[in-house]
C-alpha cells in the first residue's frame, strides 16, 4: 500500500517501531509530534515564549481548596477567585478521614527556605484560614437583616395559608435558614420513612423528621464484636432530628394532601429558587448558631454536609441522642430568632417564630446515634474495678515471672489510666517518653501522627495527681530495668532508653503497644471485660463533654483534633493555663466515672 502523505508515513513507521520495542502510546505520540515538525510541511513554528504543552496541570487539591473558598464567597462583594492559587497536596488518608483538609496539612513546600516565598505562602495560607473562619463581619457572611427578610417572607403566613409549589418552596428554604442546608445539599434530599441506601439525606413527611447519614462512625459493624456491642451504647450511622414545628406542619400538609410526585416538584422548585442568596444564608447559619451556643459539631451535623469542615473528626467520635441534638438546636435557634425578631421590629417587618410557643422535650423516639464504641458506664466500672483488684506490687526481689506479670499489669493499668485522663490515641500517639512529662504543673508532651511529611506535637494537660503518678511509674520503671539488666537474661534490645511504658513479654522487654496490652489482659483473664477498641476513651470523652455541656471547642485541640488557627499558634492570645482547666476538670470527672480510684 502506497503511503500518500508524510503523516501516514510517520504513523506507519511508529506503529512498526512500537510493535518491535513495546514503547508506550504516549511516547509514540511524542515521537510522532516531533517527526511531524522535522519531516512535515514545515508549517509548525516553535515559539519560545508560548505556553509549554507539557506544562503541569493545576493540582486537583488546589482546585478543591479554591472551590471550597469560592463556595463561601459572596460573589457580589469579593473577588479573590482569580488570585487564589493554593497548591496544597492531599492530606494523608489518616488525617483526611478525621476531617483535616489540605490547608491543615501544610507540607515542606510551605516551609520553603526562601524567605520571600515563605512569606507569600504564609500570607496565602492565612488568607485561606481567615476565609474558612467565616466571621460575622466577613463580607461573605449573611447579616441579621438578610435573615430577617427571609423569615418575614417565609414564615409570616400560617402553613395552611400557603399552597402548591409555595409550600414546597417554603419547606426547602426553611431547611436552609433553620438548619443551614445549602442548595447543593438540598438537591440530594429524598423522601422516605427512614434511612435509605441510595441517599445521604432523607425527609420523612409523615413524621416530620430529617435523616442525615454520618460520614463515619468510628468503626463499621463488621469489625466490632458482639461483646463490644453489648458493652457499648447503641449507635448508628444515621442521625435523625425532628423538624421544628412550623416546618413539621408544612411537611405533614404535603404528606396528607398526597401531592403527586412531591419529590419531582421538589427538584423543579429547587431549580427555580435563587440559589446564591439561599446558599449565603445557609452557609452563614452554622456560624450564627455556634455564636448562640450550639456546639460546632452539632451545627455542622445539622447542615447534612461534612465536606471541608473541621468538625468531621469529632462527629465520628460522638454518640448523642435525637432529643439532645434537637434541644441544643432549639435553644440556640431561639436565641438567634430573638435577634432576628429585633431586626424585624426595627424594619417594621412581620415576624413569626418557627419554633412555636413552646417546644417541650418529648422522650418518644429518643434514639441514640453516632459512635458505637462509647462504653456503658456500668460495664466500664466493672472492668476497671477488676483491673484494680488484680493489680499488685511489683517486687524486685521475687522471681522474674512474678515480677514481669506484676509489672506488666501495673504498666497496663497506668497506661489505661493515662488514656482515660488525657484521651490519648492508642496507636497514633507514640508511647510517652521520659523527657515529655512535667509533673509539677501537670503537662505531658504528645508526639502525634508519624506522618511522612512532618510531625504534629501538642501539650496535653493532666490532673496533677496523674502527672505525679506517671512520674512515680517512670521511677519504678527505672528500677525494674536495672533489675532486668543486672539479674536476668531479658533482652532489652527493642526497648528505647527513654520509653516510659514497657512490658516484659516472652523474655524480651518491649515498648508498650495496643497488641501487647491485649495480650497482657488475656494472660490475666481480663480480656473479656475489655471488649472495646483501645481508643474508646476518646469516644467516651467527647460524648460526655457534649452531654455535660463542656465547651467542646476548648477540648478538641488537646485531643488532637486541631485546626488552624491553633490555640498555641503564633497569633493566639490564649492562656493555655486557663484553657487547660476545662480539660483537667473533665479528666477528673471522667476518671471518677470510669471507676478509677484516687491514687
Amino acid at each position: 500500500m502506497a503511503l500518500a502523505t508524510t503523516s501516514e508515513l510517520i504513523r506507519s513507521a511508529l506503529r512498526n517501531y512500537r510493535t518491535q520495542t513495546g514503547v508506550s502510546g504516549s511516547t509514540a505520540a511524542s515521537y510522532a509530534a516531533r517527526l511531524r515538525v522535522v519531516l512535515g510541511e514545515q508549517r509548525h513554528r516553535i515559539r519560545p515564549g508560548s505556553r509549554s504543552a507539557t506544562r503541569r496541570a493545576s493540582h486537583p487539591t488546589a482546585a478543591r481548596v479554591l472551590a471550597a473558598i469560592r463556595q463561601r464567597e459572596d460573589i457580589g462583594v469579593s473577588a479573590t477567585r482569580t488570585r487564589s492559587r493554593l497548591h496544597l497536596p492531599n492530606a494523608p488518608p489518616d488525617a483526611a478521614r478525621e476531617g483535616e483538609g489540605a490547608i491543615d496539612w501544610v507540607p515542606a513546600q510551605f516551609w520553603t527556605r526562601s524567605p520571600a516565598h515563605a512569606r507569600r505562602a504564609q500570607w496565602r495560607k492565612q488568607h485561606a484560614t481567615m476565609s474558612r473562619l467565616a466571621f460575622q463581619h466577613d463580607s461573605r457572611t449573611a447579616q441579621l437583616a438578610d435573615y430577617a427578610s427571609a423569615h418575614s417572607r417565609l414564615f409570616s403566613r400560617a402553613p395552611r395559608a400557603i399552597t402548591g409549589d409555595q409550600r414546597i418552596s417554603t419547606l426547602i428554604e426553611g431547611l436552609a435558614v433553620v438548619y443551614g442546608m445549602t442548595p447543593s445539599t438540598l438537591t440530594t434530599l429524598t423522601q422516605g420513612s427512614g434511612p435509605r441506601d441510595d441517599s445521604d439525606l432523607v425527609i420523612d413527611f409523615r413524621e416530620g423528621r430529617l435523616w442525615i447519614r454520618l460520614p463515619r462512625v468510628g468503626y463499621n459493624n463488621d469489625t466490632l464484636s458482639q461483646a463490644c456491642a453489648e458493652a457499648s451504647r447503641s449507635g448508628s450511622d444515621w442521625a435523625s432530628v425532628p423538624l421544628v414545628p412550623y416546618l413539621r406542619d408544612v411537611a405533614r400538609l404535603l404528606h396528607t394532601q398526597q401531592e403527586p410526585a412531591i419529590m419531582r416538584s421538589f427538584a423543579e422548585v429547587t431549580r427555580k429558587i435563587e440559589r446564591r442568596r439561599l446558599a449565603r444564608l445557609a452557609r452563614s447559619l452554622p456560624g450564627w448558631l455556634t455564636r448562640c451556643g450550639l456546639p460546632g459539631v452539632l451545627a455542622s451535623l445539622l447542615t447534612g454536609d461534612f465536606d471541608y469542615t473541621p468538625y468531621l473528626a469529632t462527629s465520628a467520635y460522638i454518640n448523642v441522642s435525637e432529643q439532645h441534638v434537637r434541644m441544643a438546636h432549639v435553644s440556640a435557634f431561639r436565641c438567634f430568632e430573638a435577634q432576628i425578631a429585633a431586626e424585624c421590629r426595627r424594619r417594621a417587618w412581620t415576624f413569626a417564630s418557627v419554633l412555636g410557643p413552646g417546644m417541650a422535650p418529648s422522650l418518644s423516639g429518643n434514639r441514640h446515634f453516632g459512635s458505637r464504641i462509647v462504653p456503658l458506664t456500668g460495664r466500664l466500672q466493672q472492668a476497671i474495678q477488676a483491673l484494680e483488684t488484680r493489680r499488685r506490687e511489683a517486687r524486685l526481689g521475687g522471681s522474674l515471672t512474678a515480677l514481669a506479670r506484676a509489672w506488666n499489669l501495673t504498666a497496663v493499668y497506668t497506661w489505661f489510666r493515662l488514656s482515660w485522663a488525657a484521651a490519648l490515641r492508642p496507636c497514633r500517639d507514640p508511647v510517652v517518653r521520659r523527657g515529655d512529662v512535667e509533673p509539677e504543673t501537670g503537662w505531658i508532651f504528645v508526639r502525634d501522627k508519624d506522618s511522612p511529611f512532618s510531625r504534629e506535637s501538642r501539650l496535653v494537660p493532666l490532673a496533677l495527681r496523674d502527672a505525679q503518678l506517671l512520674e512515680r511509674f517512670a521511677h519504678d520503671g527505672d528500677r525494674v530495668r536495672v533489675r532486668l539488666r543486672a539479674m536476668t537474661r531479658t533482652a532489652m534490645d527493642q526497648l528505647a532508653d527513654d520509653a516510659v511504658f514497657f512490658l516484659v513479654v516472652d523474655g524480651r522487654a518491649r515498648s508498650l503497644s495496643a497488641q501487647l496490652v491485649r495480650l497482657v489482659l488475656q494472660q490475666e483473664g481480663l480480656g473479656d471485660l475489655f471488649p472495646w477498641p483501645l481508643n474508646a476513651p476518646r469516644h467516651y470523652w467527647l460524648t460526655r463533654a457534649l452531654e455535660l455541656e463542656m465547651p467542646i471547642d476548648q477540648i478538641e485541640p488537646f485531643i488532637g483534633h486541631s485546626h488552624e488557627p491553633l490555640p498555641w499558634g503564633s497569633l493566639s492570645l490564649v492562656s493555655l493555663k486557663r484553657l487547660s482547666e476545662t480539660m483537667r476538670r473533665l479528666g477528673t470527672i471522667l476518671l471518677r466515672e470510669a471507676g478509677f480510684r484516687a491514687e
Partner: protein, 684 residues
C-alpha cells in the same frame, strides 16, 4: 530494630521533621521535663545565696532571668545584650530596648523579677568609675564580648540540664506556655514578629524621644548621610525635575499628571540638560514619566519618585554604577541607598522604590535588576522602628467635634473622622461608601465593598462598636445628607453635593488632629488607634484586667467589641484583622497594635517575695539600711516594693532626686568599709 527518636538506626541519624503547622511554641521533644529545673534555677536567683555575688555573676543572673521570666528567646540575644547601653534599659518603665544588627529595634516589657536583677546590676555598676561616661554600657567589661557572655550563660544553664542554647530556649517557651503567657507574646519574644513601638511616655505623660526610635514632634536623630543629601547637594539636572514634580504635593487629576509628564518630556529637548543628566538622570526622568502616566495613586507616585530621587541626590546610584558589571558593586550601592533612610519602614519603602526603578532600567537595557538579591537585602534591612502616635479616645472625640464646627463641610469631615477612628475605615474606603452601604436602621452596619485590597471587603457593625457620641455625629451627618438635593449616590459628600476626595480628607483631618492633640498624627493614626483600642478592650475583658488609663468612657463600647471579636482567644486577632480588612493578622499586630507595652506589662506581672538579706544585696546596702528603704513583712518584701526602692536609690545615686537626698541612707561611696557588703572577687 525499633529506632530511637533521638538516636540512630544503623548509623543513620533520623532528622526530626518540622512542625506541620506554624506554632508559636518551639515544641522540641524531651524538653518539657526540663521546665521544673529551669524554674528552680531562675527561682534560685532571688533566693539568698552564700556571700555576696560579684557584679559579673549578678549580670549573668540578669541575662538568664530576662530569658526565663521575660521570655526573650530571640536570636542574637547575647549580641544585643552585650552591647546594651544605659538608655536602652528604661528601668523606670520596665522596658528593654533591644537593637540587633539587621533587625529593627524592638521594645520588650520585662517581668519584675528580671527587672529587679537588672536594677541590682545598675546599682553595682553605679560604683564603677566608667559609669560617669555618657550613656555607659550596662554589663561589666567581661560580658561585653557576645561569645563570652553566651559561654557564661551556657555554663549556668547546663546545670539546669539544658544541653544547648536551643534546648534551653525550647524549655523556656514551654515554661511560659504552661504559665499562661499568650503564644502571640512568646512568638514575638522569639524574634518572629516586629511590632511598631509606641512612643515612650515620660513621667509628665508627654512622649519623650528615644535614641533608637524616631522621635515624635518631627525631631529626628542626626543622620550624617541624610544631611549630605540636602537640596544644595543635588546634581544640576535635578532642580528642573523637582520644580515640575512639586505639583505632586497638591491633589491633582490624572490630566494634571499627564501635563507634568509632558513637561518632563520637554527637558529631553534641552541638550545641556541631557548632558548633565547622563544615563541615570535620563533613566530617572523617563521612569517618572511612565509613573505619571500609570494608574498608580498620586501618593504612591510621589513616594516612589521622592525615595529614588533622594538616593540619586546622594550620588549613591550613578552613571558608573549603571555601567558596572559587578554584582557586588550594584548590591553595595543598593544597600548604601537604603541606608540613607533611618527607620525600618522607610528603608523598606526605599528598597521597593529602588527595585521598581531597576526593573524599569532593565527594560531599557540596564539589566542590573537581576544582579541584586532583593530578598536578602530586605531580610537584613535593619533600621530603627518608627514610633506611631497613639490617639486616645478623648483626642479622637475632640478632633471630631472640632471638625464638626468647620463650615460648610465640617459635618462630613467629622463623620469621616468617626468612621476612621471608631470604625477603622481607610480614607479611600469611606469615600467610596454609597447610600446603600450605610444602614442606620440595621444598627449602623457599614458595608465596605470597594477597598484597597480584595480582603478589605467587609461589614462593620458600627452600632455595636462605636460609643454614643460617635453615633450622634453620624446621625447628625445622616440627617444633613438627607436634606441635600443631589443625585449622587455617594454617602460622604460636601454641602455642594460633590464627593469628598481621599487626599483632601486626609490633609484636613490630619491638620486638625495635630492641632488638637499636639501629636504628629495623620489620618491613618485614627485607624491605628481604633484597632488598638478594640484589642485593648477585648483583652481587658478576656483577662479581667483593669481598663487602660487612656480609655475612658469615650472609648469603644466594650461589650460590643467583645461580641464582635468573639469569645475565642485563639481567633481574636484573626477576627480583628478581618474587621480591619487585612489579609493576614500579621499586618494587624505589626502595625496596628500600639499598646503592646501595656499588654505585656500585664502579661509579665510576675510576683514574688524576697528576703531582707537578699533585698539588701539587691539594693547594694546593708540589711539595716534596707529596712529603711523597703517595707518588709515577716522578713520578706515584694518584688514591686524592691523595684521601687531600687528606682529611688538609682535616682539618688544619679543625684537628681531631692527626696532621696534627704533620706538618711548615705550613698554607697560614703559608707564605711564595714557597712558596704563585701563583694567577692575572682572568677565567678
Amino acid at each position: 530494630v525499633r529506632s530511637n527518636e533521638n538516636g540512630d538506626t544503623g548509623g543513620r541519624v533520623r532528622q526530626t521533621p518540622p512542625q506541620r503547622r506554624e506554632l508559636a511554641l518551639r515544641l522540641g521533644h524531651g524538653t518539657l521535663s526540663l521546665v521544673p529545673q529551669v524554674r528552680r534555677l531562675a527561682k534560685s536567683f532571688l533566693g539568698t545565696s552564700a556571700g555576696s555575688p560579684c557584679l559579673e555573676a549578678v549580670a549573668l543572673r540578669a541575662v538568664i532571668g530576662t530569658i526565663v521570666w521575660s521570655g526573650l528567646t530571640l536570636p542574637s540575644l547575647c549580641e544585643a545584650l552585650s552591647g546594651l547601653r544605659l538608655h536602652q534599659l528604661e528601668f523606670d518603665n520596665g522596658v528593654l530596648v533591644l537593637t540587633r544588627s539587621g533587625f529593627p529595634t524592638q521594645r520588650f516589657h520585662l517581668d519584675p523579677r528580671s527587672l529587679v536583677l537588672w536594677g541590682w546590676v545598675l546599682l553595682l555598676r553605679a560604683q564603677e568609675p566608667d559609669w560617669k561616661e555618657v550613656d555607659p554600657p550596662v554589663l561589666p567589661a567581661r560580658w561585653r564580648d557576645p561569645r563570652r557572655l553566651r559561654a557564661g550563660v551556657e555554663k549556668i544553664i547546663a546545670t539546669a540540664g539544658s544541653r544547648s542554647w536551643t534546648v534551653f530556649n525550647s524549655a523556656v517557651q514551654q515554661l511560659l506556655a504552661c504559665d499562661g503567657v499568650p503564644p502571640f507574646v512568646i512568638w514575638r519574644r522569639s524574634g518572629q514578629l516586629f511590632v511598631t513601638p509606641e512612643p515612650t511616655v515620660g513621667s509628665s505623660g508627654v512622649p519623650v524621644p528615644t535614641v533608637n526610635c524616631v522621635a515624635e514632634n518631627g525631631r529626628k536623630p542626626a543622620n550624617r548621610l541624610a544631611i549630605a543629601t540636602s537640596a544644595s547637594a543635588s546634581p544640576s539636572w535635578r532642580p528642573p525635575v523637582k520644580q515640575i514634580l512639586r505639583g505632586l504635593r497638591r491633589p491633582g487629576s490624572r490630566h494634571f499628571r499627564r501635563r507634568m509628564a509632558a513637561d518632563l518630556e520637554t527637558l529631553f529637548h534641552d541638550v545641556r540638560w541631557v548632558q548633565e543628566a547622563g544615563i541615570i538622570g535620563q533613566l530617572y526622568c523617563r521612569w517618572v514619566i511612565v509613573l505619571l502616566r500609570s494608574q498608580l495613586r498620586q501618593n504612591s507616585i510621589r513616594a516612589y519618585t521622592a525615595r529614588v530621587g533622594r538616593i540619586l541626590d546622594a550620588a549613591v546610584v550613578s552613571d558608573p554604577i549603571m555601567a558596572s558589571d559587578s554584582p557586588a558593586d550594584v548590591i553595595a550601592c543598593v544597600r548604601r541607598g537604603v541606608e540613607l533612610y533611618h527607620t525600618h519602614e522607610s528603608r523598606r519603602s526605599a528598597l521597593r522604590a529602588l527595585r521598581l526603578f531597576f526593573v524599569f532600567a532593565a527594560e531599557n537595557g540596564y539589566p542590573h535588576n537581576r544582579m541584586v538579591t532583593w530578598h536578602r537585602i530586605a531580610r537584613t534591612i535593619g533600621g530603627a522602628a518608627r514610633a506611631e502616635p497613639l490617639l486616645s479616645s478623648a483626642e479622637i472625640r475632640a478632633a471630631a467635634t472640632a471638625l464638626g464646627r468647620i463650615e460648610p463641610e465640617g459635618v462630613a469631615l467629622a463623620a469621616a473622622a468617626v468612621l476612621a477612628g471608631c470604625g477603622g475605615l481607610r480614607r479611600a474606603e469611606l469615600c467610596c461608601l454609597t447610600l446603600a452601604d450605610v444602614q442606620p436602621v440595621s444598627n449602623w452596619t457599614i458595608r465596605i465593598r470597594r477597598s484597597k485590597t480584595k480582603a478589605g471587603a467587609r461589614q462593620v457593625p458600627l452600632g455595636t462598636l462605636a460609643p454614643s457620641w460617635a453615633l450622634d455625629i453620624l446621625e447628625t451627618y445622616h440627617a444633613f445628607r438627607a436634606t441635600l438635593a443631589t443625585t449622587s449616590k455617594t454617602w460622604l459628600v460636601m454641602g455642594s453635593g460633590a464627593a469628598l476626595d481621599p487626599d483632601v480628607i486626609g490633609g484636613r483631618i490630619a491638620r486638625m488632629l495635630r492641632a488638637v492633640t499636639g501629636k504628629p498624627a495623620g489620618f491613618h493614626s485614627l485607624r491605628r488607634a481604633c484597632a488598638t483600642w478594640w484589642l485593648v478592650c477585648w483583652i481587658s475583658i478576656d483577662r479581667g484586667w483593669e481598663s487602660h488609663p487612656d480609655l475612658p468612657a469615650d472609648g469603644p463600647f466594650a461589650a460590643g467589641v467583645r461580641a464582635v471579636l468573639g469569645n475565642d482567644p485563639s481567633i481574636a486577632l484573626w477576627s480583628l484583622a478581618r474587621l480591619l480588612g487585612h489579609v493576614t493578622p500579621i499586618v494587624t499586630v505589626e502595625r496596628y497594635v500600639l499598646a503592646l507595652d501595656w499588654i505585656e506589662a500585664h502579661v509579665f506581672a510576675g510576683e514574688g517575695r524576697i528576703t531582707s538579706r537578699m533585698a539588701a544585696e539587691m539594693l547594694a546596702v546593708t540589711e539595716r539600711q534596707a529596712r529603711n528603704l523597703v517595707e518588709f513583712h515577716k522578713g520578706s518584701a515584694t518584688v514591686d516594693a524592691l523595684l521601687t526602692a531600687q528606682r529611688r536609690r538609682l535616682r539618688f545615686l544619679a543625684g537628681d532626686d531631692d527626696t532621696s537626698r534627704r533620706s538618711r541612707v548615705r550613698p554607697i561611696s560614703q559608707c564605711t568599709a564595714s557597712a558596704v557588703p563585701e563583694r567577692r572577687s575572682g572568677p565567678c
